[in-house]
Subunit: 348 residues, 4 copies
Amino acid sequence: MNRIPVAVLGATGTVGQQFVSLLDNHRQFRIVELVASPRNEGKRYKEACNWKLNHSVPDSIADMVVKTSDDPLSAPILFSGLDNSVAGPIEERYAHQGHVVISNASNHRMDPDVPLIIPEVNPDHFSLVRRQPYRGAIITNSNCSTMFLSMVLAPLKAAFGIKSIHVTTMQAISGAGYPGVPAMDILSNVIPYIAGEEEKMEQETQKILGSIGASGLEPARFPVSAQCNRVPVYDGHTETVVVDFETPDKPDIDRVREVLTEFRGLPQEKRLYSAPRQPIIVLDQNDRPQPRRDVYRDNGMVTFVGRLRRDPIGDIKMVVLGHNTIRGAAGASVLNAEAFIALDYFPV
Amino acid sequence: MNRIPVAVLGATGTVGQQFVSLLDNHRQFRIVELVASPRNEGKRYKEACNWKLNHSVPDSIADMVVKTSDDPLSAPILFSGLDNSVAGPIEERYAHQGHVVISNASNHRMDPDVPLIIPEVNPDHFSLVRRQPYRGAIITNSNCSTMFLSMVLAPLKAAFGIKSIHVTTMQAISGAGYPGVPAMDILSNVIPYIAGEEEKMEQETQKILGSIGASGLEPARFPVSAQCNRVPVYDGHTETVVVDFETPDKPDIDRVREVLTEFRGLPQEKRLYSAPRQPIIVLDQNDRPQPRRDVYRDNGMVTFVGRLRRDPIGDIKMVVLGHNTIRGAAGASVLNAEAFIALDYFPV
Amino acid sequence: MNRIPVAVLGATGTVGQQFVSLLDNHRQFRIVELVASPRNEGKRYKEACNWKLNHSVPDSIADMVVKTSDDPLSAPILFSGLDNSVAGPIEERYAHQGHVVISNASNHRMDPDVPLIIPEVNPDHFSLVRRQPYRGAIITNSNCSTMFLSMVLAPLKAAFGIKSIHVTTMQAISGAGYPGVPAMDILSNVIPYIAGEEEKMEQETQKILGSIGASGLEPARFPVSAQCNRVPVYDGHTETVVVDFETPDKPDIDRVREVLTEFRGLPQEKRLYSAPRQPIIVLDQNDRPQPRRDVYRDNGMVTFVGRLRRDPIGDIKMVVLGHNTIRGAAGASVLNAEAFIALDYFPV
Amino acid sequence: MNRIPVAVLGATGTVGQQFVSLLDNHRQFRIVELVASPRNEGKRYKEACNWKLNHSVPDSIADMVVKTSDDPLSAPILFSGLDNSVAGPIEERYAHQGHVVISNASNHRMDPDVPLIIPEVNPDHFSLVRRQPYRGAIITNSNCSTMFLSMVLAPLKAAFGIKSIHVTTMQAISGAGYPGVPAMDILSNVIPYIAGEEEKMEQETQKILGSIGASGLEPARFPVSAQCNRVPVYDGHTETVVVDFETPDKPDIDRVREVLTEFRGLPQEKRLYSAPRQPIIVLDQNDRPQPRRDVYRDNGMVTFVGRLRRDPIGDIKMVVLGHNTIRGAAGASVLNAEAFIALDYFPV
């Protein structure tokens, strides 16, 4: 099979490194270009990059010379791990030039005609690209914390309707990129604030779980109350969630577990390369999921649910966990690209 | 002033060490007896105790010989830092013998005639001791996480009424005692479960904020939805809280801040020795309070509130923080003893 | 190929879990029996075991029923991850019964006729088993910190002779087993003491690098000054090492790097299943090796060297790193078994 | 007593904050000016400063308006917590203007006529200021790791002579300033490299323990082999040390302990305000000193020694610990100023 040439924007950053790692040996894609900031121009990737993952830089990519975002690119698909401070106009420019930009940056997520996709949840939102002004397209995935919450809410909404959501996150330091959080701020500490994160969780969740109508996307209406914290964990965002259902016939816990466990979507049906076999795994031990122990399983693409139980105010409460830089970032983008192709949107 | 002789039960444990530290040089109390498990019988305290605080064992106490709970005690007031696995019958026996047991253990907290006291909040509950079958008495303070939550809810309930509470905790390892949490379980990890903790928060909060009637204590009725987590923090429990008020006239944030800031209780009025000048301090920086940076201020006796803001579902959300082994445990007991004396319940 | 049936002693412990993980899908071995403490007798492995690794319990083993060390075993080869407090007599008994016990426990390491093996370094020491009084045999691997030090010293000794060694270790918490180090002792802390560790490093290194003569094993004579510390790291022991050579012609750093990099031994020559392609990897970045980033590479079987440079007192100094529960424990035992078979010592 | 007006240079940094904390309520000094980088010019200190200590900004200083290093200063004594990247010329300029600059920066430490002082060890080196070309003077204290090592070596050198030193450090993150070490680099990790640190330990130790002769300072000649590591500890540098003595009559451990314990210097004789009663405390428990538990005792001004024992190669080995931002930085400077005044060097 001929692999599609792709480029990685922001290739030396935390998310960019995950892109490089996930796309190495990918069945459908082949990295042909790496783009980083001007200070790295002309360097080999292994020199430009302060590699932070605990396996080596892939041999096939280590010596690739890094380009800058001023350079024209040949790859039709670009994966963007660009920082939000610069991503907006760069992604637009490349989309105007005809590239399909599969972006993890937040800049365009809430644009009305940019799909914010979880392929298991809302692949029909891809159709928004037809409304875009670009020769190419921009496709986004959600904020990492939003990803795991929306994944879990999707089957629950379909089965029982959602009235409201309370969520508190305990987020890993790798979610802040590198250098990111100073050690002096987080060692033996909790920072009860992450700029913009609560707003993203509240808005992006509504967009992802919204529906496509004649006039575009109609967001879901249930309110989300989010409180976001940084904790001294390397990888994995843990979330405590209370869900209040719309249905008057309150489901019992076994029924909720069944709905979550049996959930499947497009990536599973089409057997996409990066798809987890089962998007949501419910753990029954009372002290799981835990980021250190669970988040690396199944290539970091699974969303874990644990401590499923009745809530004294809402209907159920539970703990949700996912790998923030894989399923919550680079892995989400890669799966988005696979789904985009599987649905014959590409070439645009 | 003659200082009242006191004993510490469970003197070598994590809470016991805080008792020893807080009672050293106390204006009203003087430690005359230390009680620990039989394996330490006859040892000097400095040898019996694996001292974990970051200042030295007080000189006045280092060489005191440790007794066991089978020994008769001369001190009229006993501070109990006993582990829940043994505290129940030992505390009862001493109370029957005429001692006033000021306990941090959970065993008797929910007994109908045992007061569960925060002196700023419900000093009138001390009157329950008159219903006790003991020649002495048992007085308890709450679970550490409950302490900070109830402290904050008390003035809010008085001003606006409470309809419901959602709380998620991020609790320090020192709350589990020693040896407590294995490092392999918590380094770079979150454990989303603490046995019995959620139930304690849900029930103890209702008891503390309940009212004394002719037939005894009537618990408050608002439901509490609690989700408790252990995080890699040494001292300080952080809690994210959403409060829904009863009052139809929703207060604005400035009014809520004012109510919290101006809250004072018996310890402040009577200028009790261990009382913080201001029981609740509201911080305005958007990333505070933080356990490492705030929890040691004002001798660990203050409850901090931060990130006070409107909630999309309930009325307000905020972050609450307190020192779990001081205000949430040993310091709470010591302040209870001071209040008990100030209200002339002692000698019983 | 018929796989040899093996058993794991101490199968539920930290090292035992690594045995289970490494032996699952092993080309030569097949786990047929799991032995744990009496309190787990009759339980399925997945229930008996508090599994701590960040992948799942292998399916093939999850439901195996756990035996106790009183039970007779059918497997000819037993891997022992038993705790030192019980390993001694149990291993002896099984060896008398005819089993080959490949042990990670320290009890028999210094027995004169028990080989203490690193297959790259001293495979000729296997011949000591002929002096053993057992129908079977006991084969041991070294203490984890000793492993990485001895691996690095072996080629240096061959090339330049060793006059003396100064080593300071910074050891991971997983080296202390589970529950092991209490979090209250190690969070944001260093414990400058590990019971027995310095003596092991000083003595085991001399035995491993010793030579076999007519009268048995003659230990190497160079003195080792070891200082062992526990640090808040999950996996991976880091060691700072100063080496003083015997040779009067002091080698330059490039020559030392070459000697380390080109070192190969029996496992590489025989292409043993668990052998790293290259036993020692020298890293050139000035801030490597680092436990979190390097220790999981190459299946945890490599010893890393970094910061190779001249020393103002001895000849060279460097940093050494290895995975303490894999190459430093279970992986070492598995490789020992593979080497034992490759050298036709098995069946005994 | 009239307190001498002083200024703090680099007042908002990690060391600057410790200066502010230590000088608040100081018996001899009164902060009248705070100097920070131009971006903070004109701000109040509490706004300019991202305060990181776990008590509050002193009230007396919180509202002081911050100056820049271009401003003329009125205080005769300046405490410099400036970063090395800028300290050199700024300190020189102020010294030329007549100020006494008491500096923690490394820039001028190795200048031949700049004294590098530990008041307990080499107060006679203050006389070097007479050789300086400044109307004022520059006085420096050592690198933090050097401080604790030199303190311990001073009495040992006097008693037994020093032949050589091997030292490995495990250094706290607060030693790297703020933002300093990224959390992604140090959580559950060791970084076996700190730029320039080993050279500083090797050279500064020789200067401090050198002697003043007719032609200036003659450094001590014994070689120091240093290996420096960063570990996930908030405050406190731990060092493993092997000392080889010159004396042919090797002292026993009790004699070494006695020499260390009985060591006193100028700060103790003159009862200087910031002086610890005893500069070196030897701990006898086999797992001490530990940074989290010991480093905050006695106001962070003590150097702790533990695990004093014979070494198989050199004469003794031991563990050394001190508070890197107090005794190892700001507290060292403050004590230097007190000693400078006590010896009547001031006013210059």
